[in-house]
Symmetry: C2
Subunit: 431 residues, 2 copies
Amino acid sequence: MSAPSTPLRLGIAGLGTVGIGVVKIIQAHADLLAARAGRPVQITAICARDRQRNRDADLSGYDWVDRATDLATREDVDVVVELIGGDEGIAKDTMELALDNGKDVVTANKALLAIHGQALAERAEAAGRVIRFEAAVAGGIPVIKTMTESLAGNRIRRVMGVMNGTCNYILTRMQSAGLPYETVFEEARQLGYLEADPTLDVGGIDASHKLAILSSIAFGTRVAFDGVEIEGIERVSIDDINRAADMGYRIKLLGVAQMTARGLEQRMSPCLVPADSPLGQLEGGTNMVVIEGDAVGQIVLRGAGAGEGPTASAVLSDIIEIARGVRMPVFGQPAAGLASPQPARTAVPAAYYLRLTLADKPGALAKVATVLGDGGISIDRMRQYGHESGEAPVLIVTHKTTPEAIEHAMEVLPRTGVITGEPVELRIEEV
Amino acid sequence: MSAPSTPLRLGIAGLGTVGIGVVKIIQAHADLLAARAGRPVQITAICARDRQRNRDADLSGYDWVDRATDLATREDVDVVVELIGGDEGIAKDTMELALDNGKDVVTANKALLAIHGQALAERAEAAGRVIRFEAAVAGGIPVIKTMTESLAGNRIRRVMGVMNGTCNYILTRMQSAGLPYETVFEEARQLGYLEADPTLDVGGIDASHKLAILSSIAFGTRVAFDGVEIEGIERVSIDDINRAADMGYRIKLLGVAQMTARGLEQRMSPCLVPADSPLGQLEGGTNMVVIEGDAVGQIVLRGAGAGEGPTASAVLSDIIEIARGVRMPVFGQPAAGLASPQPARTAVPAAYYLRLTLADKPGALAKVATVLGDGGISIDRMRQYGHESGEAPVLIVTHKTTPEAIEHAMEVLPRTGVITGEPVELRIEEV
């Protein structure tokens, strides 16, 4: 309202896809941003590893500095925009130095926040500075703001989401083209969709960083990446994708966080979701976050989870908030007040999808059914497929049961002597 | 961050469903709200038409006042929460008086903002006060905040949405039960889903109030409810719902706002959308808003558009923002800077759905095709159904054409003498 008309001055560290996206928006929409922010938004200085690279943007009006940390100490920078990435090293040094020098920080760095979020939040609050990170989770989707602000009147029951576009691309492409994981993984690599270390994507780590950040805001707890049970998509077979589709499901790399009496459950794993649910219909690189609050019920947010424009859009929203004078604790509440969550292994019951291959022996199916029954697992639906080379694939959808019961059954089943190969189990998440 | 620990004191005007929902959240989540807001949130005084009514909440701790306007002048009220409704009278008087007396205002009143938004915004800004209204549009869905803050780095291209749950209930119930409009309308009335004046719902007026508010924020223009082309759902027949379904579409009461070279197009009308699109799959009372920005691409927000919890959740988010010290111009930019939009009749081309009944005459279809062809309208798909009592229903999906061309064809077609009854046209909105 009474925002100062002095410009907000930015130092941008990192001129990759997102950094250049931010520069382009600031250049293209200067008037719009000034009207909305109540003051001009200007770039003072920039920094990137390779100064010579052609970046498809006019950078001549900005001071180049050699090291990102130089941005953190400049008098003419109010906000350091950290778009370097990585959970250690130069990104962390730059952010810490910026806070210590009285700068606010805007970042897209989920790894850094997932691992050092508590220390950084305490540091920011001690310095009276803010760290904003809308771009760190689900790209252009305003999930941080929605959780921190729009749902502040709610006790959050559960947060879940598909938050790694590369994994969702691989899974939907496997299904639509009927191709095995390895082939589509290679395609994704050639398309440049994978991180330099692809385990970050397909191993579920990147998505788990995001989930840990969301959990912290949702439940008012310290960010606890270590508490996420992580399983990637590497073991998802085209067989399971096809069989799940037969039963009316899709397989998604789904993150789920919920607070239970036993503690904070955070899991990232390939799950079955109904094919006709919003999550089931999510195609390609699109992200979706589903938030359940006691007052609001279920809110679904969907949009592009990565890419130049969407991620830069999120960075700009944070910059404009700072320009407007909005000051928020990093995780929505003062960092000192955040409780250390008690991590809990998944215990919330769910239906499960099981795929077994029965040996061609009389009474094989009865034996499987007995193991499940003895373990307290009841069967909702079962399909036995025709014998292929003497072995019969069997699909089972269970009624709701505990992860413990399923785990036990998966140990016992191979010892019955009536199944061949490893049985597969996948959780069916209610959405 | 340095939020004062003095309580934020509320005066609540109106204790209907939403008002009581707000009271219940504040009572149930006092600690949570204080942690998130940085200070306690307290109710000081309340007001409702009927003091004796049983409201399923303990109101004994609050001062009752006789008139809502009394809340606006109390020393011990910081924020007046206006949940009375109506675009004139007591709601407007209360809001104006509250602003003039240095109170901030939180409201769910879309009608008031759609009609008097500009004057109220100017009044608030002159007084250095804020008006917040997340609950006015799409209930618990954080669309105001998303538009004003999260997408502030974007030039918005188009906003659209299904924003009246009652209409969406009626349309989806017609489809699922195969019932005519009149029957389902009567059901909805008996279920209490309709406003006292049902035209507000089924006539598209309530949804148009919301669209006008969104347009203002999206395009930085003065709210212009008068500029909305409004058509309700009264003329949607079960025939059209069924025929549209045959062609892969659903009929939704859809609001669309977009800025074109000719001016601001705002329309609220029954449209066809693909059955498998997010909008097409929206069932019952759920709302959905789709926002397209130049950087972010398409963002989809989905949730409950009405009801005690969702609407109260939105009211609480506004209250907590004020408690946190966040001050924002009413429509995202200073009111004085908002341009008066040039209202434009819909001219953006689209495909159209046409339903005609052909008289049983030779060459009838050829004559229809000639009229369309002469008007520059080309046919994408056509279906002629079996002759029923000598008359043949014909469905046509056109290629993209202008509303003007369609309007012209709708005038000419009855004059050909080869169709009986009124031809029906519905726009097919790309989503």
